[in-house]
Subunit: 251 residues, 2 copies
């Protein structure tokens, strides 16, 4: 089996935005699906891990696109493991058009947790460090790693939402991509008509669950660049707990 | 070319809910995608229609499921045109597991509009009534047609939401399936743990756009059955205009 996995998708018309290009959230979902197909085929997918009380947890995701697939287009997502350490693994993505043209890249960082304690566990404990045999350290992923998202205390409160049934995935908490969608919803169509989202990065801090409320705080850091901090409040409490931070670069 | 189209999909893990079964909204999207693949292959798809200032508009959709595809499962959606009249066409769906087992059915009613005037136009005007050669009138779709959703004036206001970027599709208005998702979000996970959604039907009345607010009014009509009316208010106005009505049957 090849170390790099490649998965074909179609930009289905009802997964495209007003401009006929795929929603970034949907592309992010397909990256996560590709990651799971890749790891399932190689013996360390989510379904297998669930049976041994383990789960992958996405810690960071950065997506940088030159162009988004257009409706009806066949595209593929390549994914490979760039490196693995005891508590973190780096997985990269490349999005290709049917003609082989590169549309963009993704970088992600994953931890593995014990689903009972929710604490990080040793990735190498799975099948005697089997993940090491799948590492590809010579394949190019020419986008910046996602770093810490620096924000000042000047960020502005821009909205609040409740978490609902459709936000929650099989892990019982808010799906990683749903945060991306809710953050993108802070801008309106008039903005997206004039600006192309070049890069989106997100760093996850805590999980949120049904019943929590999410507050959004936004700050323009430099021209064409914004950061957004998401904080949850649990039912019956006003205490804010940071859930994730995002950085968006428009062009 | 076969009159009935059959399209293969995978129940991707990140399109599944807390229980590991596909979200109904995602299945609805795949039905619409199947409908568009089917009509595109036969010369009357959305992309072609756009070029001649026409578009399909979904008027009614009913989905009745015995079971939902489980994560990783390969399933397929069959779709065919049951009948066509001057202003409406009926299109049916059958959802099948990879072993051929029937998971459920869908029924839909579509109109064709002139995209400039937004008025209904003659379906038979497209390529000399070409749709007539694709009609399948002897294939079973053993679920009730979607009818008028009857509600009294006793429905209760249960929430309001703003329309955002991710709600809007290529047609420039709220995607038909997004209403379904927002309606399903009126119930929480505790409810879905105890109840299976057996049937969902929706009748569309008016389009809504970014900037509109949607109000939800709910009424329990009989045991295990609820109806929901969605009404929009446009920016700067308090006038309510009905957008759609839904009927949900749980078991």
């Amino acid at each position: 089996m090849n170390k790099t996995g490649k998965y074909e998708f179609i930009a289905e018309p009802f997964h495209c935005d007003f401009s006929g290009r795929m929603f970034l959230g949907h592309l992010g979902n397909q990256m996560l699906n590709a990651a799971d197909f890749h790891s399932t085929d190689r013996g360390f997918g989510m379904k297998y891990l669930m049976g041994i009380q383990r789960s992958w947890v996405l810690s960071r995701l950065a997506i940088e696109m030159v162009e988004m697939p257009e409706q009806y287009e066949h595209y593929s997502v390549e994914t490979w493991v760039e490196s693995a350490m005891k508590f973190f693994t780096q997985r990269n993505f490349c999005v290709l058009g049917s003609d082989g043209r590169v549309y963009g890249y993704g970088r992600s960082v994953w931890a593995m947790i014990d689903t009972a304690t929710r604490q990080p566990t040793d990735i190498f404990a799975i099948d005697n460090g089997a993940i090491n045999q799948w590492i590809v350290d010579d394949k190019l992923c020419p986008i910046e790693r996602g770093g810490r998202v620096k924000m000042s205390d000047k960020s502005e409160f821009v909205g609040e939402m409740e978490i609902h049934y459709n936000d929650i995935d099989i892990n019982g908490h808010v799906n990683s991509v749903k945060y991306i969608e809710h953050v993108l919803d802070l801008w309106d169509i008039a903005w997206y008509r004039e600006h192309r989202l070049k890069r989106f990065e997100i760093a996850y801090v805590a999980e949120s669950h049904q019943g929590d409320k999410i507050r959004f705080f936004r700050e323009q850091t430099v021209d064409n660049e914004c950061c957004v901090r998401l904080a949850k409040t649990e039912l019956g409490s006003e205490k804010e707990v940071e859930v994730c931070r995002c950085r968006l670069v428009f062009s």
